[in-house]
Symmetry: C2
Amino acid sequence: MKKEGKLIVVSGPSGAGKGTVLKELLDNHEDFVCSVSATTRAPRTGDEDGVNYFFISKEQFLQQIEQNGFLEYAVYNNNFYGTPRKFVEEKLAAGKNVILEIEVQGALQIKKLFPGAVFIFITPESFEVLCDRLRSRGTESEDIIENRLAIAKKEAPNALLYDYIIVNRDGKVKEAADEILACVKAESLKPLANRDIIATYFE
Amino acid sequence: MKKEGKLIVVSGPSGAGKGTVLKELLDNHEDFVCSVSATTRAPRTGDEDGVNYFFISKEQFLQQIEQNGFLEYAVYNNNFYGTPRKFVEEKLAAGKNVILEIEVQGALQIKKLFPGAVFIFITPESFEVLCDRLRSRGTESEDIIENRLAIAKKEAPNALLYDYIIVNRDGKVKEAADEILACVKAESLKPLANRDIIATYFE
């Protein structure tokens, strides 16, 4: 029987570079997959259905909630976001490490369901760098940026509830991806994961 | 100011290959050093004073205990073994990761003094493999081997008190050394080690 994969929950403020770090990881390690969330928000330019998100209607979303189709869901900026249960359970059973890139609210729900999941918070090296990054993108209005920064400030204390905090420094994406690997490796070395080996001393 | 190094405590039964794994690590990573223990046991063939151990008399050992010269000490097979305090404290202050290869009794003493140390237990993949390894060395009498195996059995449950259990599989010494690196890396990513970064969100 194949060893079950590890569930990895990744959160962090908008502008932390979560997507870039996860792409680096996924491109180089085929034992990792990323779960695709469902959302009721409208697709933005460049969004691909089934790649960035599954774009569904509010009615479809509510129906899937009723059918227990989500591992977690949350409302964020007036839109629903949810993690489809089936994909995650199948991939874990097939031995893949499954990454959920989700908001803090959803992460707390996952912690109850999967106490053995690895919780990783990604942040730039400071709030100041976060401000600079969001502004230098030049793709969003100052209003939207201010809103994101306010959310980032509000959610930052939750970082201390995660298992690990990874700093995504400018130009150090590979280092950040390697740190995710180290966290997942270290989790697999915890005593409970290896008690069968210790048990052989008593046979 | 240089960031203080990490204290790493390594234990495991005689025959687990702790020395081989640590040599692999130390030979390739100069930010790691191994503490040299003091002992009252007689040097064996090949033992070098100051390399394998500092060989001292029982009187000298007792005097150093009185002068608070050891971080921990323990009696094992009727001999004293201790970790000289000064070396460890100086190296940590200089930013080196310091490895203590010590017995379970000593490890528990270190846990009280350095709650932030990383505790790693090294074991072969099973007790059976441990028996085979000790016997195939062919250097020790069956009496001594039986005694070591009895100690291994007695101490095995303590493995579950360590932070990590690393399995040193035959021919996989590099993998085991890399796992130590992953554990040390992961420890540096824990929330408390990074709370200064989160604090910048509130400035």
